[in-house]
Amino acid sequence: MDWLSKNLPYLMAGISVGGQYALIAIGYTMVYGILRLINFAHGDIFMVAGLVMVYASTVMPVYLAIPLVLVVTVVIGFVVERVAYKPLRSAPRMSVMISAIGVSYLLQNLALYVTGGLAQQYPAIPWISDTITVFGVTTKRVTVITPPLVIVLVAALVMLIQKTKIGMAMRAASKDFETSQLMGIRINSVISMTFIIGSFLAAVGSLLFFSNYTGVTPTVGAMPGLKAFVAAVFGGIGSIPGAVIGAFIIGISENIIKGLGWTTFSDAFTFALLIVVLIFKPTGLFGEAANDKV
């Protein structure tokens, strides 16, 4: 009981931050599922979503700034794919990978240019950033909102993929481009849809994540991006449930480690986990055996 009351704040923070990682991790895993590409720019898109909020909130009320963040992030995700990845569709996978790294640095440098390298104060979002007390733990409301919101979004996404026509096309395209084209599926629309969903969820993730964070810097996307990526690999890259479960496990473990007083090692834990997974179970918790797409 004593242990629980002492660790409850860490557990709650862990579940919350795990949910935020999950929203980012889905973007990695879906893009990988369809293009076999690790979208290195994804963490930076998350960072850009944070910056858009910073600047939007200075000129408009929050209830307008939030939808604007969602729209702008989706557009950026869409444009990145069309400009940097689509022209390389038949190029070797390594070229696309390098292009993704290029986009990552491009976004970081644009952010550096815009911000002048100074950390930008993230606006307090009314209600979401309010301080509340639950089970004797004082925290921001975002901590308790995140887990149910993530569950709702993931459920909606799973419904979309399992029950709709476009979802069926996405599942088909993730297995076999050519045969999907023979069915009349427009592969490029399916791929764009994947980037749109991934960017949308990253934008939601950024709203939640930064509400609990001090400021936005050009490289702020790197760490959560990397952890979400590890979550996706841990869960089995390509698998959506895998990415979500992996993200919660990483978020919780990290915060429990902090609760134990080993804060310095909490990041190291995540990467140790990556190495262990890559050595002992490269396909992750829910991953399929290596599947080189035709």
Binding site: M168, A172, K175, E178, L182, M183, G184
Partner: protein, 238 residues
């Protein structure tokens, strides 16, 4: 009778390799036409270039009088032409019914009638409706691949070696289905290595060798041709 498909001087290259070297052939509407030839003759390359999965190096492909060359696959299949690819290529992670629905992906109308039509042709698929396609046997997967193609209501179905890797009794079933589909008004372009069965089923046949068409005739005539017998039917010259 008018030709639903007219191919003229079609050539296909992969880097330096010329797989198809300027072939011309016709597919008359309502018939079963077969293209037979040994491994590597360029049969798959021909079919794949017709549906735009590979870019032809030259020539022209007229479907109902309209040039297909240069169009993306998604556009070509919308015109009423489809390919049952070599190796079946069913979506193993999707159920049988989802595979069938994907076959009709470009249509927005009610699929019930068509589903019933293909279930009627392939009762086995109805039994396996909710099973993942990957759990079907090879023969069942071939049936599914054909049924999936039918779901788009094509005017022309091209099939790439539908009998490949199937037991003789199943092969017979596949050819029965091909005739049945044709009887229901769909034109068929059939690529086969099983020359014996293909020639029997075909109204018109072409023989392809190393990227060229070397012979043309009625299916029944070519089946009696001594050269064909020796080369493709495994029967020695008398």
């Amino acid at each position: 009778m008018s030709n639903i498909l007219e191919v003229r001087d079609l050539s296909v290259s992969y880097g330096g390799i010329q797989a198809v070297r300027g072939i011309s052939f016709d597919v008359p509407e309502g018939q079963v036409v077969t293209l037979i030839g040994a491994n590597g003759a360029g049969k798959s390359s021909t079919l794949r270039s017709i549906v735009g999965l590979v870019k032809p190096a030259g020539g022209s492909i007229l479907f109902q009088g309209e040039e297909l060359k240069g169009n993306p696959t998604e556009t070509i299949v919308r015109k009423g032409i489809t390919l049952v690819p070599e190796g079946r290529r069913v979506f193993v992670n999707l159920t049988v019914q989802e595979n069938l629905r994907l076959g009709a992906y470009m249509r927005n109308d009610d699929l019930l009638k068509d589903l019933n039509w293909v279930y009627d042709l392939f009762p086995r698929l109805k039994e396996r409706n909710w099973q993942a396609a990957g759990t079907l046997s090879g023969g069942e997967q071939q049936m599914l691949a054909i049924a999936r193609a039918l779901m788009s209501r094509p005017r022309l179905i091209m099939m790439d070696e539908p009998s490949l890797g199937l037991a003789p009794i199943i092969v017979q079933g596949v050819f029965d289905i091909i005739r049945e589909i044709n009887r229901r008004g769909v034109t068929i372009l059939l690529v086969e290595q099983n020359a014996n069965m293909a020639l029997k089923a075909a109204d018109l046949a072409y023989v392809m060798e190393t990227g060229r068409i070397t012979m043309k005739g009625k299916g029944s005539e070519l089946a009696e041709n001594e050269e064909i017998k020796a080369a493709y039917l495994g029967k020695a010259r008398k």
